[in-house]
C-alpha cells in the first residue's frame, strides 16, 4: 500500500474526483466524514459513561470508505451494511439525532429502540439495514438488485461487507448469483485486516479479497480505502457499469479500524506500532489537506466544519437523552405487520 501523502498537483492536473464534484459536494463529504468521526467518539463516550448498553463496533479510521462509496449514490439506490455500520448510515444520509436516539433505545430512534447499534437503518434514505450476522447482507443486496431490475429501475444496490465476510459461504453464493444474472450490485469489501482478531493472512487463502472476483467473472479492484478520491472514483466506475446493465463489481477498500473490534477487544492480536502507523494515514486529514491544497477549502472553513460537527453530535446526544422509553406493553408491536400471534 502506498503511503498517504499530501498531494501538491497543479489544478489542471486535478483528478476526476475533484472535477466531478462541485465545491459544495466536496465540502459536504468532508463534513460527513467529521460527522462520522465525532459520532463514533460520542457513542464511545456515552458507552463509557454508562449511558448506553450492549456493544458497538466503531468505524473510526474507515470514514473515507463509507463517504467515498455513498457520495455519488441516489436516495433510491440501496445499501446493505454491517455490524460496523454507523458510518454507512451517516454517509447514506441519516440524521445523527435519530441514530443516537436509537442507541439510547428510544422510540424516536430509527428502529424505535428495537434494533440498536447493530441493526441501525434509515430506510427512507435507502439503507436496508446494518446486520448482526457477518455476511448476512450479501445475498440481501443481490435480492434488492434483482427487485431493481424487475421494476425496470436504473438504481443500484451497494453491499458493504468486511474481509471476514468474504470467507462466508454467503459471499460466494451472492457473488455467483449477481454475476450469472448480471445484476446492478456493487460489492464493497472494507478490508480492515482483521475479522475480530484473526488477520486476513491467517484466514484467507488469497492475499486480497479482490483476488476472488475473477472466480465470479467480475472486475475486482483494490483501492486505498483511506483516500476518498480513490474509493469514490472506483465506485463511480462500478456504478456506471451497473446502471448500464453490465453487471456487478467487487471493490476492496484497504483500510483499518483504529478502535478494537467491539467493546470487549483488548488489542492482543496487533501492535501499538501498527495502530500508530495507520493513525498517521488518517483519511480525514488526507482529504482536508487536499481540499486546502487545491483551493477548495480554507483553513477557517475546515475549522467551521469541525465545530459544526461537534455541535451537531452534542445536540444529537442531548436529543437522545430526552427521548421516550418504549413501554413493555408495546413489546409485541412490529413482530408482524398485521396483528398475529
Amino acid at each position: 500500500m502506498t503511503q498517504v501523502t499530501q498531494e501538491t498537483v497543479a489544478v489542471s492536473n486535478l483528478r476526476d474526483f475533484y472535477r466531478h464534484f462541485d465545491t459544495t459536494a466536496l465540502r459536504d463529504a468532508l463534513r460527513r466524514m467529521y460527522l462520522i468521526r465525532r459520532f463514533e467518539e460520542g457513542a464511545e463516550e456515552a458507552y463509557t459513561r454508562g449511558l448506553i448498553h450492549g456493544t458497538m463496533h466503531l468505524s473510526i479510521g474507515q470514514e473515507a470508505s463509507a463517504v467515498g462509496s455513498c457520495m455519488d449514490l441516489r436516495k433510491t439506490d440501496y445499501i446493505t451494511s454491517t455490524h460496523r455500520g454507523h458510518g454507512h448510515c451517516i454517509a447514506k444520509g441519516a440524521d445523527p439525532k435519530l441514530m443516537f436516539a436509537e442507541f439510547f433505545g428510544k422510540e424516536e430512534g430509527y428502529c424505535r429502540g428495537r434494533g440498536g447499534s447493530m441493526h441501525i437503518a434509515d430506510v427512507e434514505s435507502g439503507n436496508l439495514g446494518a446486520n448482526g450476522i457477518v455476511g448476512g447482507g450479501l445475498p440481501i443486496a443481490v435480492g434488492a438488485a434483482l427487485a431493481i431490475r424487475k421494476q425496470k429501475r436504473d438504481d443500484v444496490a451497494v453491499c458493504f461487507f468486511g474481509d471476514g465476510a468474504s470467507n462466508e459461504g454467503a459471499f460466494h453464493e451472492a457473488l455467483n448469483m449477481a454475476a450469472i444474472w448480471k445484476l446492478p450490485v456493487l460489492f464493497i469489501c472494507e478490508n480492515n485486516k482483521y475479522g475480530m482478531s484473526v488477520s486476513t493472512e491467517r484466514s484467507m487463502a488469497v492475499r486480497n479479497v479482490a483476488d476472488r472476483a475473477p472466480a465470479y467473472n467480475m472486475p475486482g479492484e483494490i483501492v486505498d480505502g483511506n483516500r476518498i478520491e480513490d474509493v469514490s472514483e472506483a465506485v463511480m466506475r462500478a456504478t456506471a457499469r451497473a446502471r448500464n446493465g453490465d453487471g456487478p463489481s467487487l471493490i476492496e477498500t484497504k483500510t483499518y479500524r483504529i478502535r478494537g473490534h467491539s467493546k470487549s477487544d483488548r488489542n492482543r492480536y496487533r501492535t501499538k506500532e501498527e495502530i500508530e502507523e495507520w493513525k498517521a494515514r488518517d483519511p480525514i486529514g488526507h482529504f482536508e489537506a487536499n481540499l486546502e491544497a487545491f483551493g477548495i477549502l480554507r483553513k477557517d472553513e475546515a475549522e467551521a466544519i469541525r465545530v459544526a460537527a461537534e455541535v451537531e453530535i452534542a445536540a444529537a446526544v442531548e436529543f437522545a437523552k430526552g427521548g421516550t422509553d418504549p413501554l413493555p406493553a408495546d413489546l409485541m408491536r412490529d413482530v408482524y405487520t398485521k396483528g398475529a400471534a
Binding site: C111, L138, P139, I140, E173, M177, Y336, T337, A341
Partner: protein, 330 residues
C-alpha cells in the same frame, strides 16, 4: 358450480399461476423449477407460461438464494421460494431465522418482508434421512414467521394464496405424499385464512389434532373407530403459527380427551405445544384422560420401507392408541 378435482400439486400450481397473473410483483425462485418443472412437478409448465424471469431457476445455493428472496421482498417484489426438499432449508436457516423473521422488528416496523417459502416435507418416499424430515416445528418456534401446513388440495391452493397476500414471511409445508392426492378445488382465486384450524369431522368422545398427512390417517382411524362406538373429532390444525387455540380448547371441552398426531419428532414437537396449551387452559378441568401424543420416532428416517413406516404414526397405531385412550376410562 360442478365440483372440479385437482391434485394437491396442481392446486399449488394453480395458486402460483393465479397469483402471478394478478400481481406482477410475484415471482418464483427455486432449484430446477423451470423446464424441469420442479423435483415434484409442482411448478410444472409455469416457466412456459410466465417466462424465465418469473420462474427463476437458481444455482444450488440455498443460503444465498434464500437471501436473494429476502432482499427482493424488502425492495418491493413478492418472491415465492421453493426448497427442493424441506431438509435443504437447513442450509438457509440464517436468512430465514436471523433475517426474514426479524428484519421488520429490528427496524422498528419500517419495512415488511412479503416472502413465501414452500417446503416439500415428510417421509414415505424411500429417500431416507436427509430427504424425509418434518421440520415444521422448528420454524413455528420463530416469532416473525408464520407457518402453514395444508392437508388437502383445497387448502393447498387457498392457504398459498393467503400466504402470498400476507405482508410477512410465511412458510408453507407441503407433504410430498399428498402431492398426488385429488380433491375438490374451486377455479376462482379463493383464500383460506392463516391461523384457523378446521374441524374435519365432529365427534363426542375424543379430539385428534393432526397436521398434514396425519389428518387423513386420523380421519381413517376415526371412521374405523366409529364402528366400535367411539366417536372421534378430527381437527386439521392447518396453521402452526399463529396457533388457533380456541378451536382446540372448545373441542377438548366437548370431548374431554385429546390426542395430537403429527409426523415431526414427538419430543418438543407441535404436540408438546398443544398439550401444554390445553394444560394451561380452561379445558384442563374437562379432561377425563391424560393427553396422548403420537409423533415421529426419536430417530432419523430410515431407508428400509418397513422401518420407514415404523418411524412415523400409521393408521393402525392411531386406532389402537386412541381406542386405549377412550376405553381406558369410560
Amino acid at each position: 358450480m360442478s365440483a372440479r378435482e385437482l391434485s394437491y400439486a396442481e392446486a399449488v400450481r394453480e395458486a402460483l399461476a393465479q397469483a402471478m397473473e394478478a400481481d406482477e410483483r410475484v415471482f418464483l425462485m427455486g432449484e430446477d423449477i423451470g423446464v424441469y418443472g420442479g423435483a415434484f412437478q409442482v411448478t410444472g409448465d409455469l416457466v412456459h407460461r410466465f417466462g424465465e424471469d418469473r420462474v427463476m431457476d437458481t444455482p444450488i445455493a440455498e443460503l444465498g438464494a434464500a437471501g436473494v428472496a429476502v432482499g427482493a421482498a424488502l425492495a418491493g417484489s413478492k418472491p415465492v421460494f421453493e426448497f427442493q426438499f424441506s431438509d435443504f432449508a437447513t442450509l438457509a436457516m440464517e436468512q430465514i431465522v436471523n433475517q426474514a423473521a426479524k428484519i421488520r422488528f429490528m427496524l422498528g416496523g419500517k419495512v415488511s418482508v412479503p416472502l413465501v417459502m414452500r417446503f416439500p416435507a415428510g417421509s414415505g418416499t424411500g429417500a431416507a434421512a436427509q430427504h424425509s424430515q418434518s421440520l415444521d416445528a422448528w420454524f413455528a418456534h420463530v416469532p416473525g414467521l408464520k407457518v402453514v401446513q395444508p392437508a388437502t388440495p383445497h387448502d393447498a391452493k387457498g392457504l398459498l394464496l393467503s400466504a402470498i397476500d400476507d405482508p410477512d414471511p410465511v412458510m408453507v409445508f407441503e407433504h410430498k405424499l399428498l402431492y398426488k392426492m385429488k380433491g375438490e378445488v374451486p377455479e376462482e382465486a379463493y383464500r383460506v385464512p392463516i391461523g384457523k384450524a378446521l374441524v374435519r369431522r365432529e365427534g363426542r368422545h375424543v379430539t385428534i389434532v393432526a397436521t398434514a398427512i396425519m389428518v387423513h390417517r386420523a380421519l381413517e382411524a376415526a371412521e374405523i373407530l366409529s364402528g366400535e362406538g367411539i366417536d372421534v373429532e378430527v381437527i386439521d390444525l392447518r396453521t402452526l403459527r399463529p396457533l388457533d387455540t380456541q378451536t382446540i380448547i372448545e373441542s377438548v371441552k366437548k370431548t374431554t380427551r385429546l390426542a395430537c398426531v403429527y409426523e415431526g419428532v414427538k419430543t418438543l414437537g407441535i404436540g408438546a405445544e398443544i398439550s401444554a396449551m390445553i394444560a394451561e387452559s380452561e379445558a384442563f378441568d374437562y379432561l377425563d384422560a391424560p393427553i396422548l401424543r403420537l409423533g415421529g420416532a426419536e430417530a432419523p428416517i430410515p431407508y428400509n420401507p418397513v422401518l420407514e413406516k415404523a418411524a412415523v404414526p400409521q393408521t393402525d397405531g392411531i386406532i389402537a392408541s386412541v381406542r386405549r385412550l377412550v376405553t381406558g376410562r369410560i
